[in-house]
Amino acid sequence: MADDPFWSNLFKRKDSDEMALFEILSEIPIFQDFNTREFRKIEGILHRRSWGVGEAIVQEGNPGVGMYIIVSGDVKIEQTSDEGTTQTLAELGRGDFFGEQALLDESPRTASVIALNPCKAIGFFRPDLLELIESNPRLGLKIVMRLSQMISVRLRHTNRLLKEARQAKAEQAQGALQPDVSAPSGEVSR
């Protein structure tokens, strides 16, 4: 019966695709505890894309347009230093996301994201978020609120690291210990 075009059309396969998508999305802090209706709205403005091995999903230095959520495959995050050497910062897989800060402003990407194997991801971009805020302010506001919460948590974390670093530095200066400065330079934030 599964091959019957009538029944398969009636109970669209899309539903299971949709559910899988919603499952992934509900793991993302931005879309946490959204209901199905809200997911349907969001789904309408998401872009599904796929990349081949070695292809860049995000190129360092390009203006940021939005965030990506990995549906399948793995990616590595790379940063090029001023001297030209590249350094891999992290590897991400299914359900991970990156680039969410670009939803808020158009500053250049701080790192490149390269596909390690054939990779599928969902894109959520600033122009679409802006339109969503116009057409559905309640939902738009919810997303923006979550985004700010995420950024705020991260900022608090950074502040704590900074404080620790300062304390360490002060202790160093007081104790005049060996110059072993390995203070955390702050997390890569995009």
């Binding site: 309408g44 872009h47 292809e55 190129q59 203006p63 347009v65 122009p127 339109e131 057409s135």
Partner: protein, 484 residues
């Protein structure tokens, strides 16, 4: 998918791309006749989309919002058409008719001799029917007419009849041909009528009945009665009449060989031909009745409802390397074009309503079509206001009669006031500075537009170029941040 594009070398890619663009341009030019409803729907969608976004934002479904907006737009339009429509369309038809109408027509009367003896026509005279006016009818080249005209058996002679009435009413007369030689004292007559379309059908029927005359000596006249078609004074006849009074003054300054009347008539006719000629081809696609009323809302509905999905599908086709850039650019271009179209339309409607109101107050005939034209023409920088002033002045000259000069003065004052309002209040607020175009550019695109699509082409050339410019600017500004 990415590998396949790198197989083709760069020069080949550029050539392929150019061929594609040229082909596309040619295709668009070929189908320009049916583009009008789509373009209009596109513009309509851009104009209405902020309203519908707002409605959707307040909780209404998008489809519901579109239907509601359409319903109100149609109600307003319907009300406008119901109340002022017939007067306005009548004015427009009348005006376009006055512009395009032939001043005079001519017809050839063939006389053939089917008899055995030569036939001599020694003269011709016009006779009134039911006291009709004879001044409209003439024999062309009165002095050189071949009277006496001798037609040998089996041969043919010709007489050319001219028709130049000073009004549009139905005119009829009898042309009486006097015969000479053996037939001295005999005559044949031919019925001639003009502007019959405006007369009644019954008059034509009566004429056809009356023209069943048996001609003596086998003189056959073809046609049996003459329909001169439609003719009457057009706008330039009236302007030329005014020019006639100015002729002596002008000749005093510019020399004897300036013939103002001929100049006005010739140049006027050429101008109208140029403007109207290709326009009708273009408008043919638009005005063909129902298509317009049905297709435009239909297409606009889908542009409004599915615009986002359409652009999403388009973006899906873009290769990964350019995807983010295209997404960003498309969004910006969309915003810019929307702003430009809405700004232009607002400026146009404000100027048009000011012009219509002003011209009606002054008492100009055809205030509505002329004001509307002035509003649309106002989109063309520099030339636009001039087009408005000139067309309104021509109408004032043609319809003003004795007070024509005073009316022209008032028209000019009205237009100066509108220009002042436009430049101080409207332009700075609604039209983006970034779309300012160089005067030479404007002149060039307006001329190209008029060449391709007549007056409609002239009017859409500037906004089209504006859209093009906005797009290029956005692309240029947006592309700089990317490493390509």
């Amino acid at each position: 998918m990415n590998n396949s594009s790198s197989v083709i070398s760069l020069p080949l890619r550029i050539i392929l791309f150019s061929v594609l663009i040229v082909g596309l341009c040619f295709f668009v030019y070929e189908i320009r006749g049916i583009l009008a409803p789509f373009t209009l729907a596109f513009v309509l969608a851009y104009v209405l989309s902020p309203i519908i976004d707002r409605m959707e934002g307040s909780g209404m479904s998008r489809t519901g919002g579109i239907l509601l907006v359409f319903l109100s737009v149609f109600t307003v339009l319907g009300f406008a058409i119901f109340t002022a429509g017939s007067k306005v369309t009548g004015e427009m038809r009348d005006l376009s008719d006055r512009l395009q109408r032939e001043e005079s027509t001519a017809a050839t009367l063939a006389l053939s001799n089917r008899g055995e003896r030569p036939i001599q026509v020694i003269g011709a005279a016009w006779e009134a029917i039911n006291g009709s006016d004879l001044t409209a009818f003439s024999l062309v080249d009165g002095e050189t007419l071949p009277f006496p005209l001798e037609i040998l058996p089996g041969e043919e002679g010709a007489i050319v009849i001219g028709f130049s009435p000073d009004s549009l009413v139905f005119a009829q007369a009898k042309l009486r041909l006097e015969l000479g030689g053996d037939l001295e004292g005999e005559w044949v007559s031919v019925f001639v009528a003009g502007n019959t379309v405006r007369g009644q059908e019954s008059q034509l029927a009566a004429l056809q009945q009356a023209s069943n005359v048996i001609h003596p000596m086998g003189l056959e006249i073809d046609p049996k009665w003459v329909d001169m078609g439609e003719a009457g004074p057009n706008v330039f006849t009236d302007v030329a009449k005014l020019a006639e009074t100015l002729q002596p003054t002008i000749q005093a300054y510019l020399g004897e060989d300036i013939d103002l009347v001929a100049l006005v008539k010739e140049q006027g006719a050429t101008l109208i031909d140029t403007l109207w000629g290709s326009t009708t081809v273009f408008l043919g696609g638009v005005v063909s009745g129902l298509t317009f009323v049905v297709i435009v809302p239909f297409v606009a509905f889908f542009f409004l409802k599915e615009g986002r999905q359409i652009s999403r599908k388009v973006i899906e086709l873009v290769p990964n390397a350019y995807f983010e850039m295209c997404l960003n650019l498309l969004h910006q271009i969309n915003g810019q074009i929307g702003g430009y179209i809405r700004g232009q339309l607002l400026a146009t409607s404000v100027v048009a309503s000011l012009a219509v109101t002003g011209l009606s107050i002054v008492g100009l005939q055809y205030a509505f079509p002329v004001g509307l034209l002035a509003g649309f023409a106002n989109m063309i920088p520099f030339l636009g206001p001039l087009i408005g002033i000139i067309s309104a002045s021509i109408v004032a000259l043609a319809t003003g009669g004795t007070a024509a000069m005073g009316l022209v003065g008032k028209v000019i004052v009205i237009f100066l006031a509108i220009q002042l309002i436009d430049n101080i209040l409207i332009q700075p607020t609604v039209v983006a500075k970034s779309v300012e175009m160089h005067p030479l550019m404007v002149l060039f695109v307006v001329m190209v537009g008029s060449q391709l699509m007549g007056i409609v082409g002239m009017l859409i050339a500037v906004p089209l170029t504006g859209i093009f410019k906005v797009t290029l600017q956005t692309i240029y500004a947006g592309i700089r941040g990317y490493r390509l």
